[in-house]
Symmetry: C2
Subunit: 287 residues, 2 copies
DNA sequence: TGCGCTGATACCGGCCGGGTATCACAGGGC
DNA sequence: GCCCTGTGATACCCGGCCGGTATCAGCGCA
């Protein structure tokens, strides 16, 4: 009755995304007729028309849009399940923690030390990813926990534990006049004609328009600041990786940044729970 | 490669839960040999042994435990997807809101009124469920949004918006001596020998041990309090449904209760977003 | 009006899922 | 020790379904 096979969902997603049966079939590596038949069968079983085919164009119905969202989530969960299962088998008692490359050295160090000191702590493998990729790494099963930052990262659908809140600072080329100031405001650094502020990718990987360079990792940003091409606003702990050519100046009016430990809410593994407990004890109760 | 078919997951969950191939096959309505073969095939494709069969007993491996959790979630998501799709087709532009039976009349009323006043607001169908069932209704696709209460309900994995925070009150039989007091403490009401405090179901539907009656809905509770058999601690808005035989007394030291609007984080529907926006404007900014 | 494009239909073949029969092996009872 | 029982694995067969090719049926367009 309600048995949606993943094959059917895969087929439906392809058609719904292409809005074209032949192209979808090609993408799936099958011929068009079986695809038409599979979709028709899916619609028949659900008792719902998912696609309006009016002779020259294919469009999604409202119900089709709903199923598209659901199917994408299910397919992601499926590949994630396979990956997690394989990971559990190949590297038992191992926890994968993902963080942005080059952020929060000391915090991570402290967390790992505290965790290693716990009796019966499992090994932790540290993965690095590009900006804002952590949630995807969690969802697709490549990581078990992530270090993320509010309000920069999208935390919807994740369970989190706050670890550390800090101010933001502006990172400037050392020789820039503003680098000599003891503090700045957001307005001060957002309107420097010769130093357009760097742009980070949004959730979908695109960049909002603007004059500043498009950034995707910390080493690239460091390079561009040192060259005097841009300025960036980052959390205070970024001071730890500054070069001689960089200068950090406190921002008085920028919102604070909280680094959080994040994991998938339905994750019931003992290892994740243990790390979270350690982190809570070590950072939350200590503060 | 990593294509876990839902049929395989269904089979695996049956075996993992029964830890017995023949019984699992019976439960699935198929014969035992095809089931053995399907599991073996699944293990071969994943390259992982999920079950240890040592001649007399079947046990889950660590990897098998991981896959069991994942598979349960995927199967739930699958049936939910079918249900949501069918709902979207049969009652288009309709939002299902679920709340505990008999809680928060006025809040819900205000929310619905505010929502109805919005231009282009979709129809809202109000569903009632028993204590703590709201999250399940959301997850299995029977509801789109829920009214829930912190800290009573388990909100993990849900997105929420706080609507209203209120004190708690003790609901007593009107003729009880304590009913005449103007305020009480939690200690006052938790140790009345002749009025054991009512027990609510936990997440898994079981009750913690204790002398008080097991409660599963508000009318039953009201009845038992009126009969002088129990006392309950509830949020202040419960005053609205009290009978003449009831008395409500403020509790000075009980934690506050926050009523929240909750929805699934990956829900991208315009209707849900609209209701949340209305609720935020009406309750959060107004407070 | 014919051509091209697109999805639906018809039909066929091979694969795979499911069934029955049977085996291999461990325990337990006598 | 023997046999019986219970369990999962194996062997084999069959039917249905998935996928392929061929073709049709509309519609737009030149």
């Amino acid at each position: 009755m309600d048995t949606l096979e993943t094959r059917e969902l895969r087929y439906f997603v392809a058609v719904a995304e292409e809005l074209h049966f032949s192209r979808a079939a090609e993408r799936l590596g099958i011929a068009q007729p079986p695809l038409s038949r599979a979709i028709a069968q899916l619609e028949r079983r659900l008792g719902v028309t998912l696609l309006d085919r009016d002779r020259r164009s294919v469009t999604l119905t409202d119900a089709g849009q709903v199923l598209l969202d659901e199917a994408r989530a299910i397919l992601d969960a499926t590949t994630a399940a396979a990956r997690r299962t394989r990971r559990a088998a190949s590297t038992p008692n191992r926890l994968a923690l993902v963080t942005k490359a080059g952020a929060n050295h000391e915090l991570l160090r402290k967390l790992l030390d505290a965790h290693a000191a716990e009796p019966g702590a499992v090994e932790v493998e540290v993965l690095l990813c590009r900006m804002g990729e952590q949630a995807r790494m969690l969802r697709d099963g490549r990581a078990d926990v992530a270090l993320m930052q509010r309000p920069f990262d999208d935390l919807t659908g994740l369970d989190t534990e706050d670890l550390l809140t800090e101010q933001q600072v502006a990172i400037l080329p050392a020789e820039h006049p503003l680098a000599a100031r003891t503090s700045l405001t957001v307005a001060d650094v957002s309107d420097i004609p010769e130093l357009p502020v760097a742009r980070w990718p949004r959730q979908d990987g695109t960049y909002e328009p603007g004059p500043g360079p498009e950034i995707h990792d910390q080493s690239q940003l460091a390079q561009l600041i040192a060259l005097g091409h841009t300025v960036a606003v980052l959390c205070a702990s970024s001071r730890s990786w500054l070069w001689n050519a960089h200068a950090a100046v406190s921002l008085t009016d920028a919102p604070h940044v909280t680094t959080v430990l994040a994991w998938l809410p339905h994750n019931r593994s003992r290892a994740v729970a243990g790390l979270v407990r350690t982190a809570t004890r070590h950072f939350v109760s200590a503060s």
